[in-house]
């Protein structure tokens, strides 16, 4: 049996590096457009599943509201401040989930052999896997996060400075980049661990659940882990500490609040390497 992964790389090797990224983006755009058209064929179903997506993600915030119906502060943070953290991570995660959230289906494709179909198509595999079964209904999560963020901005009395204003969009985009890297790395892991796709949930859904609560709630070791090992703290905890003028977790220096873009780029690079290693290790089961 010809090694399909190698074959795909040989084809890809002919194209220049920069051209490859553009080609990937183009393929991604085309496949996404196809899935959107397909979704829109069933409009009622789209509206209902988007509402369902909205409602299921809102449940996390309902838990927070229920908690605050009994207490005034959690880990020293008031409801508005927790909502600020919640909104930031939900929008970042929601954007990443919308863009490439279907990547967790990779394990299934490896198992049933349909990944081979993607390998022989003349488009980068990463772009194809990322756009596979693109779910526009995931806008529900982004909308829900944005509403909570809007509520937080309206209730929390933030002393706005140009730096803080600039940090808002930067933090949302970088956060989406960091979560995107987690999705790609988790998908790369599925080449090895096929059935164990649920592990990625611990880092993606688990990660955003963690970030919904203030860092002061968690044990120091856990905060250290999500700062230095899986740098999720850069999604909202650290930049939000600057915006809310709160003490930084782990007594980190003040400049870390502005590190998210660099961290996001580094994460994406590492995830890209992991993806290549994963794809290279892939051996089709054959028939």
């Amino acid at each position: 049996m010809v090694d399909a992964a190698d074959a795909a790389e040989v084809t890809a090797g002919r194209v220049e590096r920069g051209g490859r990224v553009a080609e990937g983006l183009r393929a991604y755009r085309l496949i996404v457009a196809m899935w959107i058209r397909s979704t829109m064929a069933y409009r009622t179903s789209f509206v209902l599943t988007t509402l369902g997506n909205f409602a299921t993600t809102a449940l996390d915030f309902v838990a927070i509201l229920l908690m605050f119906s009994r207490v005034d502060a959690l880990g020293g943070y008031a409801l508005g401040e927790v909502a600020f953290l919640y909104g930031l991570t939900s929008v970042s995660f929601g954007l990443a989930d919308l863009a490439i959230g279907s990547m967790d289906r990779l394990g299934r494709r490896v198992r049933d052999g349909t990944l081979d179909t993607l390998l022989v198509r003349p488009a980068p595999v990463l772009a194809q896997v990322a756009a596979d079964r693109f779910g526009l209904r995931r806008l529900g999560r982004v909308t829900q996060g944005a509403l909570v963020l809007g509520y937080a901005l309206a209730t929390v009395d933030i002393d706005w400075t140009p730096a803080k204003l600039l940090l808002m969009p930067v933090m949302l985009v970088s956060g989406a980049g960091i979560f995107g890297a987690v999705f790609v790395a988790a998908a790369a892991f599925q080449f090895v661990a096929q059935d164990a796709s649920e592990v990625s949930n611990a880092f993606t859904y688990g990660g955003t659940t963690l970030l919904q609560y203030p860092p002061t709630v968690f044990a120091r070791e856990l905060v250290r882990g999500v700062t230095f090992v899986v740098p999720l703290a850069f999604v909202n905890w650290l930049p939000a500490s600057h915006v809310l003028e709160r003490p930084y977790p782990l007594d980190l220096p003040a400049w870390v609040a502005f590190a998210p873009p660099a961290v996001a780029v580094a994460c994406c690079a590492l995830a890209g390497l992991a993806w290549r290693a994963g794809l290279r290790s892939y051996r089709s089961t054959g028939s």
Binding site: S45, A55, V62, L66, V199, V217
Partner: protein, 266 residues
């Protein structure tokens, strides 16, 4: 007697079927442990701000978190047992074959689901629970009788869970596509079972309503029995009552559904 053996075999099959996927089970254990870890700190902060909230002390709240993670898969609180498969069979028409079998449809799926639940208690529940008990202060009873009562409550919880999901699955006879109903069932399951937050923490009238609904049999009831917060006998009556009602309604709906089934000839 023969039929007893049949359903025992079906239950054993359900157990073995889920036991086959070892990597998936290990992944589930890992994920439940991570979620338990996150939740336990939020609960600790909550009970720090308000000790004795809902009548639990901090150790009881911690135990509650790990119990939830241990039972989440077994009781299929968010769905995910047999119902997807049954709905698919209804949609494709394979259900006609099932109805021809010399076995009762409801008992067949109940047996298979209890087999699955037993595996998931052992395979997915024990490790996260043990992790929680080792690394966090938990409140566990010493008497064997309390543990026995807890196991009975879990069995009844599994029956209630089945009763609810059987109704969800049968909705496919009328709706064909079960996506919406499955999603509503997930929401209700998470919110009303105590998975989101212990039901005794819910404020005022909302708390009283959710505690009376069948979902409270699934996590809140076994937890309160283990934590010594509820009288076991009263809890059993409450759970068994809901289980009987749901199974009876399931039976009625099933007979109504099978009367209107038209198998596509060919």
């Amino acid at each position: 007697m023969g039929s007893g053996r049949l359903y025992a075999a079906v239950a054993a099959g359900g157990f073995r079927r889920y036991a086959t996927y070892r990597a998936a089970t290990a992944a589930g254990v890992f994920t439940n442990t991570v979620f338990g870890l996150i939740l336990v700190y939020t609960y600790l902060a909550l009970w720090d701000a308000k000790p004795q909230l809902g009548g639990y002390d901090q150790a009881q709240a911690v135990t509650y978190v790990w119990l939830g993670q241990a039972l989440l898969a077994a009781l299929a609180i968010g769905g995910g047992g047999f119902e997807d498969e049954l709905m698919e069979r209804i949609r494709t028409g394979d259900i006609a074959v099932d109805l021809y079998r010399p076995a009762d449809l409801q008992l067949w799926w109940l047996a298979a689901d209890l087999g699955r639940a037993l595996f998931q208690v052992l395979g997915r529940g024990l490790v996260p629970f043990a992790f929680g008990a080792v690394f966090f202060p938990v409140a566990l009873p010493r008497e064997a009788s309390a543990w026995a009562a807890f196991l009975v409550a879990v069995l009844l919880a599994a029956m209630v869970s089945f009763g609810l999901r059987y109704l969800v699955a049968l909705s496919a006879f009328w709706l064909m596509d079960g996506t919406g109903v499955t999603q509503m069932a997930w929401l209700a399951g998470f919110f009303c079972s105590g998975m989101l937050l212990p039901l005794n923490v819910f404020p005022g009238a909302l708390g009283e309503v959710v505690r009376a609904l069948p979902w409270s049999s699934m996590l809140q009831a076994p937890a309160d029995v283990l934590l010594g917060e509820a009288d076991p006998l009263g809890t059993f009556v409450f759970q068994a009552g809901w289980a009987l009602v749901l199974l009876a309604v399931g039976r009625l709906v099933q007979s109504a559904a099978t009367r209107r089934v038209v198998v596509q000839g060919g």
